[in-house]
Symmetry: D3
Subunit: 318 residues, 6 copies
């Protein structure tokens, strides 16, 4: 989506459909009402002001609606702003749909579920395999559509499954380098580690935190669920405790939300693999948006650093 | 137990029974074997060396056994040490029992269970009442014997119930001062907040951490249990989430083991009441051991402070 | 004051008197001058813009004046703003007074001074009693009108005395639970702990920090005063040092302004009681403003947390 | 070396050669001199006391000498101690050599240099390739014998090269998962990142810190060396700065010794790969020493954690 | 420059030349374009809006140009803003020059170079003297014009040399009080400590960070340069390492950018002298702008403190 | 005192008088009592064991007594220990005195009081001068004998006055470099900043903390004293507040014991001068004990650093 709103430069004209993410009424210094719109498509977001808004405008241009807009990308207080020249609500005949405006994982759902199924099939420990399969079956639909996070990394449709599959691939390669790793336990931990987000977040498209998400959080919620599923399947023994520990400790430190730090090898690895994949996802997407010789925007979740793209990068790749 | 080992001054003779907490073999600089014994009674602990120990001594004076010892309290590297003059194993005819050597709460079990039952009876919210009653019933025996912690505060037989009952009393008085408090929720949180310790610790008498205790911890274990009990009793609704949140957040901060800080009034109060009662328990017991005009030992769990007992304290009390 | 400005929802019309807290001149993008007014009554504050302000407006609508305003509560950048339709200065005939617009403690001054007097009367230690009585006598008028703080908690007329009386009640109840407490010392510490604020702050109605307040602070100022009063009354002995220590250590830690942490039992309790009462004051007032099922605004002085009010809270109270 | 001193249990007899790491004279409480010996072989270290040592003993049993010892492994203050029954210096006819007593990487030097050479051969960017090759050539001998650190991880003969080769393998696999990585830059960074240790440490066998190592440290020393080599080879352009940045930032944070954090993608990856390989080296070696169901010793460089080895680990591996 | 823009009070008229530091286009709420200008002279900076800007204005009023402006100093959101009444570009006949608008050290360049030369002449250690002289010769021009920093302290033309000369004077006086100081080493360290800034910053007039500055930083860059110069001059021995250490450690702590803390006496002193002179420069300039009895603005680099100027300060000085 | 106990190397014989700092009874593994003696002279301290001590020995060799000892300096657990061959109590005829064994400032008391008097004489502000003179007069005797601290820096007889005089000299020189400094205020602050130590510590010779010292601390005690003296002398105005602020803030930060950070220029300078003189005192004394090319012991109060003495230091000084 190279002609999306996220790729428009200051000064360029714009003429396309956009999804309204939020709409807030204000009063201008001339006393007239206006709307502040946050507009988005799959490539990014932009703010716009609809000056001298009528009562009808207020009811038409609301969150989750789609609008056809012509205008120009300008700048206000150092941030891009879309100057609206004309705006109208989308019609059924326009053939546009909310899902067209949401970013999606670069790998299709079919491939994601196939790789997940394959990983479970490879597991040899029956207790770990049964628990993992049970969860994937129960939550399959949501698992394949939810993002991995509200912002920062894999924050797009199917982001959670995309993140998990990347981590499974990474785990498989680490097993070759460090053969002592218990791959069954690591696979199970990877697949389940963020599954609590399906209850922590309200939905896949425009996720917000649920009450349970705010007061309990996805980690204790998932530890609880594993306990329940183990009882349901009649599974006892260390596998249950180890799997709960993997989920519980995967943030690495108490101050990052894990009341216990990793205390088994595979838990430590789960934490490291999660870190590597989340960081690479953030870095690659930020660097994709800049040219060699430029710095990216500051990345909040990477200590607010701004990364440089060297001039010579991969110039010798064929 | 004013003539217990914890109250002997350096230089005083000793002649009494003591419980062996641990026994370790060593070799002296003259090449002869000796035993390092940690000995205890309900008043405290002391180290002793049994020089030139025979093979028989090694098998007789082992952990959990009771011995009759005469000797003198001396000092080694600044810490008290019992110099053994004679030692023999206790006989059945001595009429001593392991429980005589363990510290116990200053309130009898009967009073503790009565107050607990009363508090549950006072609750008006049926969901909270049912869950709380269920837990107390299920765990009653252990609840009334376990300590509240391995060290620092209420680290004695029935310490957990003693701590809970103190907190219930404190809660009742706070309700009078701040009538908006939901006393049912606060009572339920107080009664259940540390119940996970029954599984985190191995037993009441000489508690150590279980594997599950080390890898999961009492807080997530209890959140999981509340989830299970609610399902078992068919209870749904906010009470379950709020009760899980109370337990989850009662350490106050992520770095202290609570992945969520208190986010409802009663959770904040639970945290504060827990703090007040634990601190008063530590302070009172440490100050009991010193005279007016003296400082206590350093209290590790109170930022390693050493507290002063003023000369005039309560001198005007009748 | 349920129809006060603090309780108006976005979109509601407003027609009432407000106290001008501050007035600042600006220039609009059309080149015309305007005034930014911060307006308040006992229920809260709101910002308003007076567009196209005349020279006369500039001199009429200044801080500490009262104005009659009609308008509508709108929103600007996510915060409420009062859209002014008409404005006029209050007239003597309007019968409004500055004190009508200031929040006041929910307990009348007479009750506060009565409880204070009673507590001093209960004290048995003559040295502590004489010093405490001397201070209360000397500062009585200011003590009964000053707030306990500029913001966060008990930040209203008589807030300091209200806070102190709450703490005295709490202390009395704790004495019942933990009878070793020296109630005289604790009472004296509670009554004097924040008295330095009478010199740290410039006044009761619209308090700001004095030069001495900024450069010395209320804690060392009060330690100094206790030293002076003891000399004046000819009191010597540990009571003076202990009382200075109570005041000095009541913030609990060096980084919170107490060069010594609490080192006697009553100092530790003073710190805890202060914490409990301040937090309950903040929490109760924030929760009063929201409905069950809602979250409060973020509370800066409580680690910026936003608290939830459960749906079922106290529904079973009669 | 399964019968080495590092694998002896308390109470087992010992009869073998050991390298003397240090020897210190003391005076026993009976007034007689004794020697405290730290003894080692490739499997570990142990302390021993040689009581009633003669003047000759003092001169015979000194650091870097080898001794034949019979005795028994006992325990002193909770740590193993070798109780010496007989001791004699090793003779030429014993056929033992200092290198027999030093731990060595599990991969032979020939394989390490082969993989290093191969990685350099794979590089396509001529500037990075020339600088890297120049360093490996210049320092080849030391590179293949030095440890990667004085303690914690890869602290054995050839440890540096072993660590680097593991990291190169990891890098190659990450390139497959995240194809945007500039593998040349990452390879160059991996090979050079710790090369400054060759000057920071005094030698391969019993390394200590050099004066330059203590006052400058391996990171700034290597940044300086890269600057010098670039000048010498007539190489200019961003490759030099990027390579210096890779080395400079590889500890990740200022407080860990990197004045700049990683600011290019490959620098971030270098930091992560270094972390993963160092942690896996520590974890695998610590877990190798314990049985399933046991915890390892505390690992200082991993936040002092003690790791658990699950009972079921890899039991399903064929 | 007492009539400079930095000394205008709110409400005062302005009529003078100003240098345009930056110019950004925006669109007003009436849909018309405007320019936001940051204007400066040697006394300070101010923001201004040029409403209804033409295309020609956009090209005329750009960064680094000088404009003649009449207007009035007003206030917007609590910060001064220049309300433009008329504006025209400066003409050659106006006789104004960019350098007229830049702040400069209060000591002329000639005096600075003289003191520098004198200090080098006083040095007795030939190795330190030769290295120091070489650097001063090589970089003399830039050394005498660069600021010591982009902001906070000595952030003006010749600021670096001014800072260095102040520090040399301070060092000379400390040598009298503490005669063990090695003055040669301290002088050399002072002169070279910030010289890396000549490459870290892009220029003297409107400095920004270079790529090497961002990715390597002035400290490692200078350690590298000293290494190169020592090789070039054929100097070996501890003087080189000590000088590198002085530069490396002068920020005092790892988290402030020094991978090694000061480990020789003169390095510790260099750090302290740097601190004292930077702080005095900030403090004196801030206090110069306020009257006795007032507080300065908050000083970001001094922990955001606002300093008070006592009423009686130096009133007794003749 | 070059042949003092602090300068003896391991293995050297010793034959001289030593002051007993402490004496503790223990029981050896052979069941016989022994004494652990801490012995000192003006050059340092050493531990010694008096084996098989008689009852008489116990009463003879007690703290504050002097003994004549012959023996040998050996080593135990890495620390020097004096092996006693013979010991006898000092006799009146030995002509030794306790003061011979205490370290003293390198400047005589007469010079210290002269410089103090001179500084007060130079002051022009009558209020500051009167208060300062009053304090010096009141406390002159103790001021000239007390140490500046119990350990770390200036921890010797007259250490406090020596520290203050050094700081006065430093202040005078800084005034030349930064003429805006108010020297009167700075002088007064320097002279009074640590005077509270006269009440915080129990005495000059073997200082320990008083009860008031432990519970209030020298900083608030001195703020209180200044308040009292100002009242006594009838002095009002900012000088009193500023002087209290100087003392209050001289530790620089809340976590270092200053509830307010420095908020006037002279307070900031007082903090810096205190830092410089304390550090130079520690550094110079530690470096005096080592040869060029060696590192000092770790200095606890300087972040536990060990400092290097370069080989070439001051070799060119004549």
């Amino acid at each position: 989506m190279k002609n999306g709103i996220g790729h428009h430069a200051i000064g360029e004209p714009f003429d396309n459909f956009l999804l309204i993410k939020s709409s807030t009424k204000g009063v201008a210094s001339n006393g007239k009402p206006f709307l502040t719109l946050i507009l988005k498509d799959a490539s990014g977001e932009i703010e716009a002001k609809l000056w001298e808004a009528t009562k009808e405008d207020e009811h038409t241009f609301v969150a989750e609606e789609i609008a056809k807009i012509t205008g120009e990308v300008s700048q206000y207080r150092g941030r891009p702003q879309l100057k609206i020249q004309s705006i109208r609500p989308a019609q059924p005949t326009d053939g546009v749909d909310q899902s067209d405006f949401l970013e999606t994982a670069p790998v299709p759902k079919e491939d994601l579920i196939e790789r997940l199924t394959e990983a479970i099939f490879e597991m040899k420990n029956p207790n770990l395999q049964r628990m993992t399969r049970h969860f994937v079956k129960t939550y399959q639909e949501a698992f394949l559509t939810y993002p991995a996070a509200v912002k920062n990394h894999h924050e797009y449709i199917s982001g959670l499954a995309h993140h998990v599959v990347s981590m499974l691939n990474l785990a498989k390669q680490l097993k070759e380098l460090y053969p002592d790793i218990d791959l069954d336990l690591l696979y199970a931990g990877i697949i389940l580690h963020d599954l609590g987000k399906l209850k922590e977040l309200s939905g896949a498209a425009t996720p917000s935190y649920t009450l349970e998400g705010k007061l309990i959080g996805h980690i204790p919620m998932m530890v609880d669920e594993i306990g329940g599923v183990a009882k349901e399947l009649g599974i006892e023994g260390e596998e249950v405790t180890m799997l709960q520990h993997m989920v519980l400790s995967h943030h690495g430190k108490a101050e990052w939300g894990s009341p216990k730090p990793p205390l088994i090898r595979e838990a430590e690895l789960l934490h490291l693999i999660d870190l590597v994949d989340a960081k690479m996802n953030m870095l690659n997407r930020a660097l994709d948006k800049v040219q060699p010789g430029e710095f990216t925007d500051r990345l909040f979740a990477m200590d607010n650093r701004s990364f440089y793209k060297p001039l010579f990068t991969n110039e010798h790749d064929e």
